[in-house]
Symmetry: C2
Subunit: 339 residues, 2 copies
DNA sequence: TTGTATGCGTTATCAT
DNA sequence: ATGATAACGCATACAA
């Protein structure tokens, strides 16, 4: 590993002082044109690049942002792209750490980043995370931090998220408008914020249309395909089986779909189906599945913008919460009347 | 942003010298037990953490690895997980940068990381990348670098990849064994390495079984679902249409599947289909699609191991190339005889 | 316009 | 066992 050229090298070779070189490099106003030219030429030749470490140490800022995510699935990796876009523009480098949905990993990652590697955090907590001490440590240091996607009331911090309740509302109202009468919901685990919000939207839609919710049609099950498959089987075996299902994730929608097909029922005729996330997979299967689209890329951009704002403002921003509207994408699985 | 405690603070409060504190912190042998206790206690109280920046500047190593990827799709994000696993174990922090399949982004990212932020690179080049100057710059600095997944002969560097030819061979032989006689291949763009290697495997399988390849059945099309869809339509309109298709990616397999269904043909009866990558989506669709599985996680781990070896060894490793075997996963789309 | 000196937080060398 | 000092690469206040 060859030793990179430093300001010192340039100064020595040009027989001038360090500070002059330093000034020339950042083209300060008070430096002789000829000197500047000479410095620039030599620095080019020596392939000089300023040492970011030394700079950061000196100026006490790294221009790095740590982005902590539980995984890199479709939605999150799209959000990260959005963050990246804005951050790069603003002169920040993002360091992505995936915690693999592991609480322990999340702690290790935040600790490592915290140790002077970054100027702040943009973070989406793992599903395992119930204790927030490691994140409070960030706040203790008064480091800028923005929470995104999985916003939790246990954390007082500026955040960006989508309007999950509205998403649930749109999905359910659409099913009602399509003439479905007996709509079930596969909600996620009971303790999960987004799960409950989407359920709230579902309930609100029913209420808007004077439909009484039935306990039998509200299923809390684990957030994955297999459990959704099992839950749907049960639903379809009820004497008065539902004629539509709203699942709060696309993975769950796929599980439901498998159970529906196995039962020999057809979509959208016998039964309607709407998912959440609008992952690419939903337009690949047949019939294609209606799904609530999250503006993931936009959300990422917004998170980064909010972060940068947080850096520049000095006042407390922990009350700020930006909410983006999701949008239902209607496909074959739920469309049995012309729109 | 509160100023973090430093060794200096501890020294001052304890009325001892910097060096003693430094030694105590790294529990050097030659330090009084009482002093050590006192230092540790105070450092605990002040929430002291060593400043990584200063350390890196001093020791000229950061213990960071830059991982540059063109995107974070299923395969790559799995590989990154593997890298992460091994790197963390070895005391490295990985910094993931996605270039978004953009050549320009890739250059910006490598440059930023190069500027003293990392000890080396683990890199998979973007599909746009045809010029490798930015990567040669890494090598000029004699920085450790490992190439993974998309290995190119234009880059002399240690690398890990899967045996793409063998993958093509397995897929094609399986189709032959299932009694398909007229097997087409949707290969990717002609200039792409993995595309040609998988095609080679296809050709080899035909040859092994005394089948003469036909130009009409070898389609070079762009690496995405839509083009695969169009290409398949053409294939199915031929007078002597193929009775099986091997696509070199799962996305392409999905495109092919759509065309096949549209045509009213059934899989695996009328036509067999095998994809590549074994993405989760292939087991979600119906019929489920046979696909060549890449040991992506293992590949990532291997890349990181090779990287660490490269760091420790001082000799030239640029000839090292590790190759992992893929494995065909047989599903409904190609199984018309009992195995 | 240029140079000198100091400090960022840490470790290492050399004294004591 | 402990302390003083220089050094890592850079920026900057102050002096010239």
């Amino acid at each position: 590993m060859e030793k990179p050229a430093t300001i010192k090298d340039i100064a020595r070779r040009l027989n001038i002082s360090l500070s002059t070189v330093s000034r020339a490099m950042r083209n300060a106003p008070d430096v002789n044109a000829d000197t500047k030219r000479a410095v620039l030429a030599l620095s080019e030749e020596l392939n000089y690049v300023p040492n970011k470490l030394a700079l950061s140490l000196k100026q006490k800022q790294t221009h790095n942002i740590a982005v902590i995510v539980p995984n890199l699935d479709y939605v999150l990796s799209t959000m990260v792209k959005g963050i990246d876009e804005v951050a790069l523009e603003a002169g920040y480098t993002v360091m992505v750490c995936q915690s693999n949905e592991s609480f322990g990993r999340e702690i290790v990652n935040t600790r490592r980043m915290l140790d002077s590697l970054v100027d702040g955090f943009i973070i989406s907590v793992s599903s395992e995370t119930k204790v927030f001490d490691h994140i409070k440590k960030i706040q203790d240091k008064k480091m800028p931090m923005v929470v995104f996607d999985r916003v939790t009331p246990f954390l007082k911090a500026p955040g960006v998220r989508i309007d999950n309740e509205d998403g649930g509302l749109q999905a359910t109202e659409h099913l009602i408008e399509q003439g479905y009468k007996n709509i079930a919901i596969l909600a996620g685990p009971k303790n999960l914020g987004i799960s409950n919000l989407r359920l709230d939207g579902y309930l609100k839609a029913l209420k808007n249309h004077g439909i009484k919710p039935e306990d039998d049609l509200i299923i809390n099950c684990d957030f994955n395909q297999h459990y959704a498959y099992l839950a749907t089987q049960e639903l379809l075996n009820m004497k008065k089986r539902p004629d539509a299902i709203f699942t709060i994730s696309d993975r769950m929608a796929i599980g439901a779909m498998l159970a529906i097909k196995e039962k020999g029922l057809s979509m959208p005729h016998d039964i309607g189906l709407v998912g959440f996330n609008n992952e690419p997979v939903v337009s690949l299967v047949s019939p294609s599945i209606s799904s609530v689209d999250q503006p993931a890329f936009e959300l990422g951009k917004l998170a980064a913008k909010l972060f940068i704002e947080t850096v520049h403002q000095d006042k407390d921003m922990s009350d700020v919460e930006e909410v983006l509207k999701p949008k239902l994408m209607i496909r074959e699985s739920s469309l049995r009347r012309p729109l």
